[in-house]
Subunit: 214 residues, 2 copies
Amino acid sequence: MGPLISVKTIGRLSLYRRLLNRLSTSGTQNVYSHQLAALAGGTAAQVRRDMMAIGYMGSPKRGYDVRELIESIGNFLDSAQDQGVALVGIGNLGRAIMAYFTGRRPKLHIVAAFDSDPYKANRVILGCRCYPIAQLAEIVRELNITVGIVCVPANEAQAVADSLVRAGVTGILNFAPVPLRVGPGVYVEDIDMTMSLEKVAYFARTGSEREVLT
Amino acid sequence: MGPLISVKTIGRLSLYRRLLNRLSTSGTQNVYSHQLAALAGGTAAQVRRDMMAIGYMGSPKRGYDVRELIESIGNFLDSAQDQGVALVGIGNLGRAIMAYFTGRRPKLHIVAAFDSDPYKANRVILGCRCYPIAQLAEIVRELNITVGIVCVPANEAQAVADSLVRAGVTGILNFAPVPLRVGPGVYVEDIDMTMSLEKVAYFARTGSEREVLT
């Protein structure tokens, strides 16, 4: 257990790491907090607070060492052991998500996928074994999976979430366009693509100055 | 132009509409604010404030009329005219997004898709014409497109966003894992799947009680 840290800080650390990886690939060795802030769309003070939260201090003269900072963020964000992910719902979106995440993180990968359609189960997609949903509890426990991705239709999502949580999952990434009810100790992050597109369409029409209101 | 309204309110209205559509399909005719709030994961007071923002008042005795409310939200959220969407980047994710949004909203649909790979352009996917990216400005202007969906890799995203905005797009749904810089008058909504999964993985490991901190 590290120090107390907010959801927003974790999100920014994930973003910083990706920006730093791009800088590193392009040969940049040092970066100032104000440069990283500009790339991330935040302030230098915010970047410095986030770095202090993970215990990383830059040299005032040369800024942060890009490779060291990538490593520090990784030590903080990533699990020391492999963290297995289960994906439920092998439709168009589920398959695209499997393709998207394959190989992105060495310690965090989709190790099992499930579907209620037997034609979609009992095969291997992108190196990931697919199972009938009836085996969810058994496989999730056997593989010690703690993270679930829900890509089923809205009317099946709550039952899938319940099954995942009962089998030991404590974090869910939910693509189903419906809020999930889970108990305390389970973290849910929603990606609601329909809501996002409707918001974009609304503000594209009416003007984006309204985004500053809450 | 309607009254001033926040991004969060627009998001909730989109969610209410989907929940109401499900209620309507299952035969429910009336719903109280506290029932809708429970489904949406909010409070009854919040639901009532949101309804007042769009000028809809429920009967205190029978709650809201489900069908009337769906229509009121639609009148507020949806464009009176068709609103065309351009998708850029016809990879796995882009194709899944095309499939996901096809037929969901009568007035909001993807009318053109673009890719820098000529093999992916010059064909029709799910009823949507695909073009080489060199034709982006021409087609976006010709079809009067105001909404763009960016599904290209991180290193191409800013250039694509710039092209979209120059051609008249004022709202962007961004799936590329990098912040976009746009001028005032352009609204951007980011869907960062990697960040979301890393957050879920972190809190699955360390405990979700931290989500209340900011």
